[in-house]
């Protein structure tokens, strides 16, 4: 095969897998035209499920599989894909980074489309530097920390990073921007402008939906994404070279790979083209030893060499490649971090002493300790939630739980029969539930409390039964008693007063979401009473 073909195959694969990633991301939602066969619903309850295998890239990610295994002691569904990726790496090196990884493709594009660096500066930027050891530090820290009970892989795992950035920052930001344009057009008095607005809205709705989206810390997720992308303008694929823990893991796996770069120093004319095009800063030029573990298998050097001084060949004779240049300090630093983080992460007492009342986890969540061992903070549950109630945490779950999912009931509510979040979770931090189990057992995620000072009927202001009307349980967890209460003007008013029956309340939060007292509602949901935590139980 000619090298030119190989490079085009790589580009095609990169486009294909990035496209697949984005397609699966878009499909991580309940479509507008979803329906169930209601004639079957009369006899048995069936659940809404997504058709697309939306967790595929997480299943193919060896770092997700490995950290979940060492921390939670469980193999994730579909982990064989990850085994396949490791096998591929052992044979062919980091082809995953060069051909498949969608985040790698994004960096590749950000660095090489209208490149900011040329000539000597590009050559200097592509020289191997000690910063490339940082990723081994991060990998060591992540794996050791996971083994000791705190799985932070998702903060830096490329699949989780990209999914979170696109799903929680890029898509909602663009979608909200488009929506404000459509709303302005729909308010116009010109028919044609209104029709354009309706038409445009229908066109973009499959990707952006019809409703405004909001995600706590979304701005920070987006800024971080932009910053990481910008770094490619200073050093191409900075993320892949210096930071990516998955790249480090695959680099270690490529120790024995059979596909090797053969450098012929006699043919080399010293033009430096190979080094200028190298994506991994892996020293392809024959005057230096090729760094197999840094090589992203982009085949650029092979392609651009005018003298045929470089060639990738299979060498079946078992021979070690050059070992990864991890740096002893980087590994020691990683070990210290790996031990320290799980210990420091518990110091806020969120796991051992007292739960944060605002930390309402999605239905089917594991107990907090197990949850922190398995959650990848990828944002799949947040993206798929039809009511936009699931958000990334800021401080509610402590440092250890940064960006893990949390329900914000002023922003949405947990639909009583909906079990989508658990059905998409790649690692099982949210257990897959059936609607029957969720509503029948029932699974409680918290409980609601009345704030009588704020409540409209309790404060004698006006009749209102909105919380009771929306309560989804049957019989309703919110019940009414008709009583006379003093009115602000001194008279009396007969109103229906709401009460909460804690035995029936599941903490879905629709009462809080729909309460007319907006912002800080008169009925609020806290995590107390959640099924997943025996410590957080209220009633015997």
């Amino acid at each position: 095969m000619k090298p030119r073909h190989l490079v085009w195959i790589r580009r095609a694969a990169q486009a294909l897998f990035l496209g697949l990633f984005l397609y699966l991301l878009v499909e991580t939602r309940l479509p507008q035209d979803v329906y169930l066969d209601y004639s079957r619903a009369f006899s048995a309850e069936s659940d809404l499920r997504l058709d697309a295998p939306v967790a595929f890239f997480f299943q193919a990610d060896p770092l997700v599989a490995l950290t979940t295994l060492v921390s939670g002691g469980a193999l994730i569904t579909g982990f064989l894909w990850a085994v396949g990726v490791v096998a591929l790496t052992v044979l062919l090196g980091r082809v995953f980074c060069g051909f498949i990884c969608p985040f790698g493709t994004v960096h590749h594009a950000a660095g090489s489309i209208k490149p900011s660096l040329k000539g000597e500066r590009l050559l200097a930027a592509n020289r191997k530097t000690p910063s490339q050891r940082i990723k081994y530090l991060l990998l060591t820290g992540i794996i050791l920390s996971a083994a000791l009970g705190l799985n932070m892989a998702g903060l830096l795992d490329p699949m989780a990073f990209l999914f979170r950035s696109v799903a929680l920052a890029v898509v909602p930001a663009v979608g909200n921007g488009l929506r404000s344009v459509f709303e302005a057009m729909a308010a116009s008095d010109y028919k044609i402008v209104q029709l354009l607005s309706y038409g445009g809205e229908v066109l973009v709705a499959p990707v952006f939906g019809y409703a405004a989206q909001a995600y706590q810390t979304g701005w920070f997720i987006g800024l971080l994404f932009l910053a990481i992308l910008f770094l490619n303008r200073i050093r191409p694929r900075f993320w892949c070279r210096a930071l990516c823990p998955l790249g480090a893991l695959l680099g270690v796996c490529s120790r024995f790979m059979l596909l090797k770069l053969e450098q012929n120093a006699e043919k080399c004319s010293g033009c430096n083209l190979c080094a200028k095009h190298c994506q991994g800063a892996a020293s392809p030029k024959p005057d230096a030893g090729w760094e197999a573990f840094e090589c992203l298998m982009c085949f650029n050097c092979f392609n651009v060499c005018p003298e045929d001084a470089l060639a990738f060949r299979f060498r079946w004779a078992p021979a070690f490649n050059r070992g990864p240049d991890m740096g002893r300090r980087a590994i020691l630093g990683g070990l210290f971090a790996g031990v320290s983080l799980p210990l420091l992460g518990r110091l806020d007492g969120r796991v051992d002493k007292v739960e944060d009342p605002r930390l309402i986890r999605p239905p089917g969540s594991l107990a907090e300790d197990d949850f922190l061992q398995t959650c990848q903070r990828c944002g799949l549950c947040m993206r798929v939630c039809p009511t936009n109630v699931i958000n990334p945490t800021l401080a509610e779950a402590g440092m250890a739980g940064f960006w893990t999912p949390r329900l914000i009931m002023t922003q949405g509510y947990c639909e009583f029969t909906c079990t989508l979040c658990g059905s998409v979770c790649p690692t099982g931090a949210l257990r897959p539930l059936s609607a029957r189990e969720k509503t029948g057992r029932p699974i409680k995620i918290g409980s609601a409390y009345l704030d009588r000072g704020r409540c409209l009927p309790w404060s004698g202001n006006t009749p209102c039964i909105v919380c009771q009307e929306h309560c989804p349980t049957s019989p309703k967890a919110i019940y009414l008693k008709t009583e006379k209460v003093p009115r602000p003007d001194g008279g009396e008013i007969s109103v229906q007063l709401p009460y909460v029956d804690l035995r029936l309340c599941v903490g879905c939060g629709i009462c809080e979401y729909k309460c007319p007292v907006q912002g800080l509602p008169a009925i609020r949901t806290i995590s107390a009473g959640e099924t997943r935590s025996p410590k957080n139980k209220i009633l015997l």
Binding site: L30, P31, Q32, D33, V34, Y35, L36, D37, Y38, A41, F42, E45, L48, R179, F182, E183, M185, A186, A187, D189, K191, Q194, L195, S197, Y198, G199, E201, V202, L203, A205, Y210, A211, A212, P386, T387, E415, F416, T417, C418, T439, L456, T462, P463, C464, I465, V466, Q468, E469, H470, C471, P472, T473, S474, P475, K476, L480, Q496, K514, C515, P516
Partner: protein, 314 residues
Amino acid sequence: MSFSCPMTRRESLRRLLRMSGGAALAGIASAAGFSSASSQPPADKKFIVEAVGRTDGYQVKDLVRKTFDAAGGIGRFVPKASVVAVKPNLSWARAPQFAATTHPEVLRAVVELCQEAGAKQVRIIDHTIHDARQCFALSGAGMVAKETGADLVFPRSTLMREMKIGGSRLDAWAVFTPVLEADVLINLPIAKHHSLSTLTLGMKNWIGAVGGNRWALHQDIHQTIVDLAQFFKPTVTLVDAVRIMTANGPSGGSTADVVAKNTLILSNDPVAADAAGALLFGRKPEEIGFIRLAQKQGLGTYDTAKIDQKKVGV
């Protein structure tokens, strides 16, 4: 989205006429020359039809057809090449057996009858309370739309428009505009219990045709229902009482609250339709606040004996 100066009803209708029927892309096709007949109920005689399915295993579809036939046939209400807006109650993401939403077979039969009558387009329109996707999926409306080819209009902010309601309590409110943009408007409520207004029937179904801060309507529920009922004027109301929810309304969630009545009520008098619906629950119509108020304001009569009454069955 709101207008700084309040509009008159005439002005708002004029604006709407200019807006065309475009509820979605599909609406563009029907943009040319429609008239908002929904604001002018048929001037002909008031009637009420009560149809009961008496035999075991009767088909809901047959019952719906019989009901319309007793009133003179669907063609009396749905002219050829008309755009029909059907307003079922799909508020809650509940499966049909819980009787929180309009029975999907009733909805299907109505859509199919309209199509048989030669309607150009049938739109299923409801501003749901739960997430619309889940409501449409679980209530069966999504499947009915898919199988009959009716348009299922997805509620969204661009389709809400502040309008002059002209009620005694609601002066202006955000209206879900596709409800008005049709030649024929069929109100298709389910009869069920409601913890504040006692019952949910036809007139209360208009709360699902408006946007805005709907929770505030509960502060004077009977008057706001009547205010909306004098604004939305359906061609006919068909109350689905195939099965009714007798407790824990409006959302329910237990089949223990559901009673089979196998009944449909069709009327061009919205007050009479609700009155007949109330009787199914064993309630006197004049005991229900919004029915009493509606008659007082001249929207119709709850004394069904005063109008042309028919009873049919299958």
